[in-house]
């Protein structure tokens, strides 16, 4: 990672914590996760985080676009993009720096739920491997959603448009398996592979497959690559 990527990532984190939305998101997500964790454990009486992982995944679908909508859109609307792009910094450094800043902030949302493991470990005998892979899968999925949010933010000047585009893309990936019954033949397998639910479900039950990791990693790289193209495309217009 180059020094410029670190500088931009640090500035992105700084931007989050200079705005009340960062604190609101952290407090709201932690509170909601805590409530669901209590309800699920209270009802099931099982030393597993499987169900809370599903709740967290569903929450990230709604939260990540709120986190990422400002990343490029705000810089374009306020004119600071011109400052960034007229410094001796490459477009790749800008994209990666912004991505890392947002991803680190997203990772902070995963810190509190890590305490849930300690709680179930204290009261029961959880499947440690399934907990670890579940967290890893959720983290990878969040990383993918952040990359999608960064991409849609690079398309727009308005944060609202950036957020709506991110919601549309993430919803499509998240809910795509619900529409499988309307398709037949090879399309079913393609849609099943493109949807996020199946991949995350594997991680949640302790399965780590190269195909699932490749899905998320290639998705992240593809979105960041498109973000870079989106920045360069602007140079021609």
């Amino acid at each position: 990672m180059t020094n410029k990527i670190l500088v931009i990532a640090r500035k992105e984190l700084f931007t989050y914590f200079k705005s009340p939305i960062a604190y609101i998101i952290l407090v709201v997500t932690t509170s909601v996760f805590n409530i669901f964790f209590y309800m699920i454990i209270d009802q099931n009486r099982e030393a597993t985080l499987h169900d809370i992982f599903q709740v967290m995944e569903f929450m990230f679908v709604f939260l990540v676009p709120l986190l990422t909508m400002h990343v490029f859109a705000e810089e374009k609307a306020t004119g600071t993009m011109e400052f960034l792009m007229t410094t001796p910094t490459t477009n790749t450094d800008i994209v990666l720096g912004k991505y890392w800043g947002s991803f680190i902030f997203f990772s902070l949302m995963m810190v509190m739920p890590a305490v849930y493991y300690l709680i179930i470990e204290y009261f029961g005998q959880p499947d440690r491997w399934a907990v670890a892979t579940g967290f890893f899968g959720l983290w990878l999925e969040g990383a993918f959603f952040v990359a999608i949010g960064i991409l849609t933010s690079s398309w727009a000047r308005s944060q609202v448009v950036a957020a709506i585009s991110a919601y549309a893309t993430i919803f499509l990936l998240y809910f795509s398996v619900s529409f499988l019954k309307y398709f037949s033949g090879p399309a079913v397998e393609v849609i099943r592979y493109l949807g996020t639910l199946g991949h995350a479900a594997n991680f949640a039950v302790g399965l780590i497959t190269p195909g699932d990791i490749a899905y998320y990693v290639s998705g992240i790289i593809f979105c960041l690559f498109l973000t870079r193209i989106s920045m360069e495309n602007r140079l021609w217009h």
Partner: protein, 244 residues
């Protein structure tokens, strides 16, 4: 130091720049004039490699702005038309961020910030949030970030835009103070300011370069006593039609 060769730029079907060519030598201070929408900002953005021309080439310090954008930007200090500032940062935080992006070695960053704070008379407000500062201060912060890496070329797009007369005088003095040994391309609507600072004038109209000569010879050629007279002669005001 700055070479433009037959630069053209289109935005859709609109031809913003048509075959613009000129050369600016080291240490020259050049005033760049034109009406709103004439193409000044577009040309400046091309020179800073922020925009890519559709035709033609530009070189800064011998480097092609399209091919070697990052290397070119190391030689340029650029003040955009709209101050590109982060309102939630203090002046010092912003200048540190700018210094880090402009490849100033870590051990020199403190010294570079102290110098531009002093040069731009910002020391007093260095720990103030940018959002809390007046437009005059914000313009000075913009100039401070433009010169923090001691660039050989300064491109200033409307540095006195929206300032009151006192602030204009302060910014003009600041430009005079920092111009030494630098090549400066300065765009402004304040013709009095150009007369005070620049020795050579470029005038652009509807994307075409219509004048490129010394201030003295331009005034002589047009038989004018001031730049305003020349400008109005070359860019006559449009007569507004009444439909009554």
């Amino acid at each position: 130091m700055i070479i433009a060769q037959k630069i053209s730029k289109y935005f859709g079907k609109v031809e913003a720049l048509k075959d613009i060519s000129f050369e600016i030598g080291q240490g020259e201070i050049v005033g760049f004039l034109g009406k709103n929408g004439a193409g000044k900002t577009t040309l400046m953005r091309i020179l800073t490699s922020y925009l890519t021309p559709n035709a033609g080439r530009a070189f800064i310090a011998g480097k092609d702005v399209t091919q070697k954008g990052v290397a070119v930007r190391r030689h340029i200090g650029y003040l955009p038309e709209t101050p590109s500032l982060y309102p939630y940062m203090t002046v010092r935080e912003y200048l540190k961020f700018a210094a880090q992006l402009k490849d100033i070695p870590v051990r020199h960053i403190g010294r570079s910030i102290a110098k531009v704070l002093d040069d731009c008379r910002l020391s007093y407000v260095q720990n103030t949030l940018i959002a809390h500062l007046s437009k005059g201060y914000q313009q000075r912060i913009g100039i401070a970030q433009a010169i923090i890496h001691d660039p050989a070329v300064l491109i200033l797009d409307e540095p006195t835009n929206g300032l009151d007369p006192t602030q204009i005088q302060q910014v003009r003095k600041l430009i005079k103070d920092i111009e030494h040994q630098r090549t400066v391309l300065l765009s402004t609507h304040n013709l009095f300011e150009i007369e005070k600072i620049a020795r050579r004038i470029l005038i652009i109209n509807r994307g075409q370069l219509i004048k490129d000569q010394s201030l003295e010879s331009l005034l002589k050629e047009e038989g004018a006593t001031g730049l305003e007279e020349v400008f109005l002669k070359l860019n006559p005001p449009q007569v507004e039609r009444s439909d009554d």
